[in-house]
């Protein structure tokens, strides 16, 4: 919610509601990685990366369409965002999965065996509807998965395998997932780790000025609202300036310099930045320009610094740096 918006701005615009995701090079890379795993019929795989890098948004808004373009057909990919609370029993677990997949009778009263059968049949039906014997389950926020839940999924995968269908379980998690793999491997659940976590891929942040430029071009050109209108996001906010040639893309160098400058002292990680903070900063710049600020002023270096400072960018990078140092010390002999 923003106060005193100009009249020409539609409050339902996805940028103002923050219900959008600009396509980024890391999202493209993630989709390609998952596509490779699907090609290889990997039983599982996990993607990990610091929070706020845009993993979930990329999955929600772009993953399916990219995979569909790549395979030239629908992919039976079911996405489950694992709730924060743990599941007390297996029945709750299947209900949660079923609701996420859209199974009509998932919440109805049934035994845990029936619920697992219900989800199995649903996955089989979705695979058959796509003309294959393959279905994929993508678990977001998988860092909260418990050992028991991994075992239940293993049972589901075995049940589908018995019916002649293949289920791949891909998981997306924050950096805590790194330790889960080792923990599973060193405990009695090595078979679970071997099934679901052998294939892995670190999700990167925005790592270069070129990638920043790619992101800003998304606002300038590769976006549209309302659908079919041909109006990109930036044109909706500043129609007159946009008509005169105002674009965000030339600001990529400035933004990249500001991002690097705002890194905390003694930052230990790579120079990869969270997409969410960049998006918030861009939104702030666009709203300021829409309110009447001159385009050159609104996109000056000082304004970018202000916009990023409001998002607590430096504090967030400090947390990432601390996590990096913990991980390095844990992995060192």
């Amino acid at each position: 919610m923003r106060s005193s918006l100009p009249l020409h701005l539609n409050p339902g615009h996805p940028v103002l509601r923050q219900e959008y995701a600009v396509f980024t090079p890391p999202v493209h890379a993630m989709a390609q990685t998952i596509g490779d795993w699907i090609d290889q019929r990997q039983p599982g795989g996990y993607i990990h990366g610091p929070s706020r890098f845009g993993k979930s948004r990329g999955v929600k808004w772009h993953l399916k369409s990219v995979l569909q373009d790549r395979f030239a057909k629908r992919i039976p990919l079911h996405i489950w965002s694992r709730p924060a609370e743990s599941h007390v029993n297996e029945g709750e677990f299947w209900v949660s999965l079923g609701i996420a997949a859209g199974v009509r009778y998932a919440p109805t009263r049934a035994t845990r065996g029936d619920r697992r059968r219900q989800l199995t049949e649903f996955l089989i039906a979705s695979a058959a509807a796509c003309g294959s014997n393959f279905a994929a389950l993508l678990i977001d926020e998988a860092q909260a998965m418990t050992f028991r839940e991994w075992n239940w999924l293993l049972g589901l995968q075995n049940a589908m395998d018995w019916e002649g269908y293949r289920l791949s379980v891909f998981s997306i998690a924050s950096h805590q997932m790194d330790y889960t793999y080792e923990l599973l491997g060193q405990s009695d659940h090595a078979h679970v780790a071997a099934r679901f976590m052998v294939a892995h891929w670190p999700f990167p942040g925005i790592g270069s000025a070129e990638e920043v430029e790619f992101v800003l071009r998304g606002y300038d050109e590769a976006s549209e609202w309302p659908a079919g209108s041909g109006t990109c996001y930036l044109a909706h906010f500043i129609p007159e300036a946009y008509a005169r040639g105002a674009r965000l893309t030339p600001c990529a160098g400035t933004l990249w310099r500001v991002l690097q400058a705002l890194l905390p002292a003694h930052y230990k990680g790579d120079a990869e930045f969270p997409m969410q903070h960049i998006a918030w900063a861009v939104e702030e710049i666009m709203v300021c320009a829409a309110r009447g600020d001159a385009w050159e002023d609104a996109t000056g270096e000082a304004r970018w610094i202000d916009a990023l400072a409001q998002t607590q960018f430096t504090d967030h990078m400090r947390l990432i740096s601390a996590a990096m140092s913990r991980k390095k010390s844990a992995s060192s002999p």
Partner: protein
């Protein structure tokens, strides 16, 4: 949260899907097996299923698809919604329950029956309950309601049942999940059942064909089959004798031995899916008053008969009495030869009258086989709900009765036309087939209020071929003299 592929799965609402494999329902599948497959794959509770798909979701009675149950032949499932959710065309459920067949053939459906082999393949058809089928046309197995240790019924098995459907209490699986997912296709079975289904739909969709007494539960299928075969031959319709029928003396209905009479037929309701499901209560209630149609069609019959006697025959109607008193084929041929055109026309009227009364069993049919009305897209009903009133729906019924009278009259007149064309063919077996009738009320003026009784009496007279009154004997001897003179 979303699911892929949304568009390809059975879709219940925007955010929820059901487990189903569109296109997996074989032709002639019963609604019972489709529902059982749905219940197996989706595991809904009774309440959830009832809320989604039943016509009366709050009914506490068990959900039964039994046509002879308390609910009758009304389908308890909202088929249109069910088919939409399953992403199956509505045509898939065309032969899914007894209620979708013409009312005339309902008495020939018995209790629940299934073929264990077909059930194992995920298939069941309501046609297995048809009295004409004792064994599965594909597997040859005896059709029975007993599968393994259990006796199945038309009731839908819901989750409140202690055992899962598809598994016998002894542990044997008679319907596996794989079969429930995608039943095995069998073109031979489809052809065999298709023949039965088409015959049933066709037999019941002709307004002139129907069991002589449908309310009678002991009506004979063999007699009905013979009757349908006979009338189909008369109407020049194909497949007069179905292959499945156990008609021992099919030659009885050989076209060369019966009078071929083209009958105007009108599809009133039944096989045409467009004519079903009007949803108009006042139309369905028309079935409850079959006698209402009796007077109507009798009136038309009498009017046509009166016209033929007075305007077509004129003075030649005296030949009717002479034909009725003729004792054998030779005598009839003599009369036809001697009487010339007048006699032949009278002979045609006699053929027409006799066929209407005896072959078509007009009086029985009229009291037992009411018209059923349906709506056809594109053709207005002529009346709408606004014309309904609390005093008996007079205006609506008047229109329907008017149409019914015209349909009946057209049929009767079409009969007459063909009889008139055939009148020049004396000496064939038609005479033996027709026998000798004495149309008592054709010779003299009829009494309108007692027409049904008069016809019934006349019909009885024609059956009593050997019983002649003294007057008849006198008339016969007079005819004999006339014939000798003519020869």
């Amino acid at each position: 949260m979303s699911t892929d592929p949304q568009a390809l799965l059975g879709r219940h609402s925007k955010r929820s899907r059901v487990v189903w494999h569109p296109g997996s329902t074989p032709p002639y599948s019963s609604l019972w097996i489709t529902v059982q497959r749905f219940l197996m794959l989706n595991q809904p509770t009774r309440c959830a299923f009832a809320q989604d798909f039943l016509v009366h979701p709050n009914a506490n009675a068990s959900i039964s698809l039994d046509p002879h149950g308390p609910a009758g032949t009304l389908c308890p499932v909202r088929l249109r919604r069910f088919s939409r959710v399953l992403r199956e065309p509505l045509e898939t459920f065309r032969h899914a329950c007894v209620g979708q067949f013409p009312r005339a053939v309902w008495p020939f459906f018995g209790d629940f029956a299934a073929c264990p082999d077909c059930l194992r393949e995920g298939f069941h058809s309501v046609l297995f309950s048809f009295d004409g089928l004792d064994r599965c046309p594909v597997h040859g197995a005896l059709l029975s309601d007993r599968i393994c240790c259990e006796t199945l019924s038309n009731a839908m098995v819901l989750r409140e049942k202690s055992t899962l459907f598809g598994t016998c209490r002894c542990g044997a699986v008679f319907l596996a999940f794989a079969a429930a997912r995608s039943p095995k296709a069998n073109p031979a079975r489809d052809r065999a059942l298709g023949e039965v289904a088409n015959w049933l739909m066709h037999a019941g969709s002709r307004c002139w064909i129907g069991p002589p007494n449908p309310p009678d539960a002991t009506v004979s299928l063999v007699r009905f089959t013979q009757r349908v075969a006979r009338l189909k031959i008369a109407l020049d319709l194909p497949d007069a004798i179905p292959r499945w029928a156990a008609v021992s003396d099919a030659s009885l209905w050989d076209p060369s031995t019966v009078a071929v009479i083209a009958c105007g037929s009108a599809r009133m309701q039944g096989s045409d899916p467009d004519l079903q499901g009007t949803g108009l209560q006042w139309l369905d209630e028309r079935h409850a008053h079959p006698y209402a149609w009796q007077q109507t069609v009798f009136g038309d019959f009498k009017a046509i008969c009166r016209y033929l006697r007075h305007h077509t025959l004129g003075k030649g109607r005296r030949w009717i009495g002479r034909f009725a008193r003729a004792s054998d084929t030779v005598a009839i041929e003599g009369l036809l030869t001697a009487g010339g055109e007048e006699a032949r026309r009278a002979w045609a009227v006699l053929i027409w009258w006799q066929t209407c009364i005896r072959d078509l069993r007009l009086e029985n049919w009229l009291t037992s086989r009411a018209f059923r009305w349906g709506s056809v897209p594109g053709i207005p009903l002529l009346v709408d709900q606004r014309m309904r009133n609390k005093s008996g729906l007079a205006s609506a019924n008047a229109v329907q009765e008017w149409i019914a009278r015209w349909v009946s009259a057209i049929g009767l007149v079409a009969f007459w036309r063909h009889a008139a064309r055939q009148r020049t063919l004396p000496g064939d077996d038609r005479q033996r087939h027709l026998g000798r009738a004495r149309p008592a009320r054709l010779e003299s003026g009829h009494q309108p209020g007692r027409a049904a009784g008069a016809l019934r009496r006349a019909f009885r007279v024609c059956l009593l071929a050997g019983c002649c009154t003294a007057g008849q004997k006198r008339a016969a001897s007079q005819e004999q003299r006339l014939r000798c003179a003519a020869s």
